[in-house]
């Protein structure tokens, strides 16, 4: 396969491999094995259609869309997923404490991984990719209204998961010493 479409596709993949991998990582809840599987699936699908894709310009939009859809389909097809505990024990970071900041971010990402795949995809596209609501809707093949509602629900759920379970009976309480 030495045609132009093959070469330009390979060039695209090699040039954008870090971006594609990072997107797959976020869509898969930061699971490297799943991210790699997703990428393999999406890229192979794109490779088969590379001639058509290259006629339309850069393969990136197609690959991104395939990746996002594959991530949603994939979780849909899984009967059971490893459960992640979302206890917010170390949720409140000590100000200026890098380890606390790490814990806080880590918790957000873990909470993100617990969202339904479509909600997660919306948040990744909106806040990591910085796509507009219209662009996000286009990638996901849904309406702008759906993007808005999914983003709103996703953020609300993240807020809920990452808040301190104040006064939770029977549960250990974690307080910031500095308060």
């Amino acid at each position: 396969m030495g045609d132009d479409s093959s070469e330009s596709f390979e060039e695209f993949v090699r040039g954008r491999s870090a971006y594609l991998f990072q997107l797959a990582l976020l869509l898969s809840g930061r699971n490297q094995a799943d991210a790699q599987d997703l990428l393999q699936m999406a890229l192979e699908r794109a490779w088969r259609r590379r001639r058509n894709i290259s006629r339309d310009g850069s393969p990136e939009p197609y690959v991104r869309q395939t990746l996002v859809n594959a991530s949603i389909d994939r979780w849909r097809g899984l009967r059971r997923r490893a459960e992640c505990s979302l206890e917010s024990a170390e949720a409140i970071a000590a100000t200026g404490d890098p380890i606390g900041l790490i814990a806080r971010r880590d918790q957000l990402i873990r909470s993100l991984g617990a969202l339904p795949p479509r909600q997660r995809a919306v948040l990744v596209l909106r806040y990591w990719e910085d796509l507009s609501e219209v662009e996000t809707a286009s990638v996901l093949g849904c309406s702008v209204g759906t993007v808005k509602s999914q983003a709103s629900r996703g953020l609300a759920r993240l807020r809920e998961l990452s808040e301190l379970p104040a006064g939770a009976a029977g549960r250990a309480e974690v307080r910031n010493n500095n308060e």
Binding site: F21, L26, E87, P98, R105, W128
Partner: protein, 373 residues
């Protein structure tokens, strides 16, 4: 933008900053295509193989932090695999020469020794193969052609560097202690992957880079030769990475496994006779005891643990915090949470460690001091 949106944006960027695919993605595509007829999931297999090699390494005592790749799969950020060292007299050591490569890494050896690069591996990258005998090219993932030529009274060593097999440059940075004032040969173990013979093995980090040295002596090698090999190893000079790529900077950017606390947890896990199962990305080390897999990590001690389910143990209190167990030690809080093994092939179930393993972990954490930053 609301606070949660800003936080999420920062967290997303920090979570994958600098992440790179562990293998050439086009290779994955071609592999999948070539194996479609047999419906083999090559990506999963690659990961499973990597995991199996890693787990095998851990369980078998080998310290290889990642499976080896042949060229063409992942060049890594280090760039070229073909190294053409230049030679110059070694100052202060008569009869020795210094071999310097294009990156500025160098090593000194007696002028009569043979030095070669071993380009048949892409990851880890082989920096130097040094032997008292000839160093012909050959060998799939170890310098076995040179090994075959090793005289009975000779010695051979290989210096390898772990590059970007994983998104975080090296999969287990905490397993590489900082290079001390004197580099030893390490214990003699194995037979190791690829080599097929026992070798001395030592791993260390220097200048933000991660190295492994394996040494083989002929059966009639003298004590004087051993000293010379050690002397040669201690002339190894490596060019440091820029400050922003150093472990401290990576730690600060949110990659916990690059923090000195992760190295400490690794020591604690080892001392507690808990099997180390790799890690969960950069956020936690994964442990295994009594067939239960769990995650361990630390946070700053700037929070207080007040719970109704705390139990006093010598020196501290272990608290049940929701689904987690936490205790305070050396100004930190150590957390344990049930977590699936990072290796889908490992037949274990997620769960908190049982009381004996937990006691060992707490005791080891009290006993082992935090490394100096």
């Amino acid at each position: 933008m609301s606070e949660i949106e800003t936080e999420l944006r920062d967290a997303l960027h920090a979570a994958v900053a600098g992440a790179r695919p562990p293998v050439d993605l086009m290779e994955l595509v071609h592999q999948r295509r070539s194996s479609r007829r047999s419906h083999a999931a090559v990506g999963t297999m690659l990961v499973a193989l990597a995991a199996a090699a890693l787990v095998g390494g851990v369980l078998g005592g080998a310290r290889t932090s990642a499976p080896r790749e042949e060229p063409g799969t992942s060049p890594g950020p280090g760039g070229s695999h073909t190294r053409t060292p230049s030679q110059s007299p070694f100052p202060g050591l008569r009869g020795w020469v210094r071999h310097t490569d294009s990156k500025g890494d160098s090593i000194g050896t007696p002028a009569t020794w043979h030095v070669g690069a071993f380009p048949a591996l892409a990851a880890p990258t082989v920096l130097w193969v040094v032997s008292t005998g000839p160093v012909p090219n050959g060998g799939r993932c170890a310098p076995t052609a040179a090994l075959r030529k090793l005289p009975a009274n000779g010695a051979l060593f290989e210096v390898m560097e772990y590059l970007s097999l994983t998104a975080q440059r090296v999969s287990e940075p905490y397993a590489f202690p900082p290079r001390g004032s004197k580099l030893g040969l390490g214990s003699n173990g194995g037979p190791y992957e690829c080599w097929g013979v026992k070798t001395h093995l030592v791993v260390f980090q220097d200048g933000g880079r991660y190295f492994q040295v394996q040494t083989v002596f002929g059966r009639a090698a003298s004590a004087a030769l051993r000293k010379q090999v050690m002397r040669s190893l201690n002339t190894l000079h490596v060019a440091p990475l820029p400050a922003h790529e150093q472990p401290a900077a990576l730690c600060h950017s949110g990659k916990w496994t690059f923090c000195s606390e992760a190295a400490w947890v690794y020591q604690v896990v080892s001392a507690a006779r808990v099997t180390q199962l790799g890690n969960l990305g950069t956020r936690a080390i994964s442990g295994l005891a009594s067939n239960r897999s769990f995650a361990l990590w630390t946070t700053g001690g700037g929070v207080s643990l007040t719970g109704s389910r705390c139990h006093h143990v010598p020196g501290t209190s272990a608290c049940r915090v929701g689904q987690r167990i936490a205790w305070r030690v050396h100004g930190l809080i150590v957390w344990i949470e049930s977590a699936a093994s990072p290796y889908s092939t490992t037949p274990v179930r997620p769960g908190l460690p049982g009381r004996p393993a937990l006691k060992r972990l707490i005791a080891a954490s009290m006993r082992i001091g935090l490394p100096r930053k």
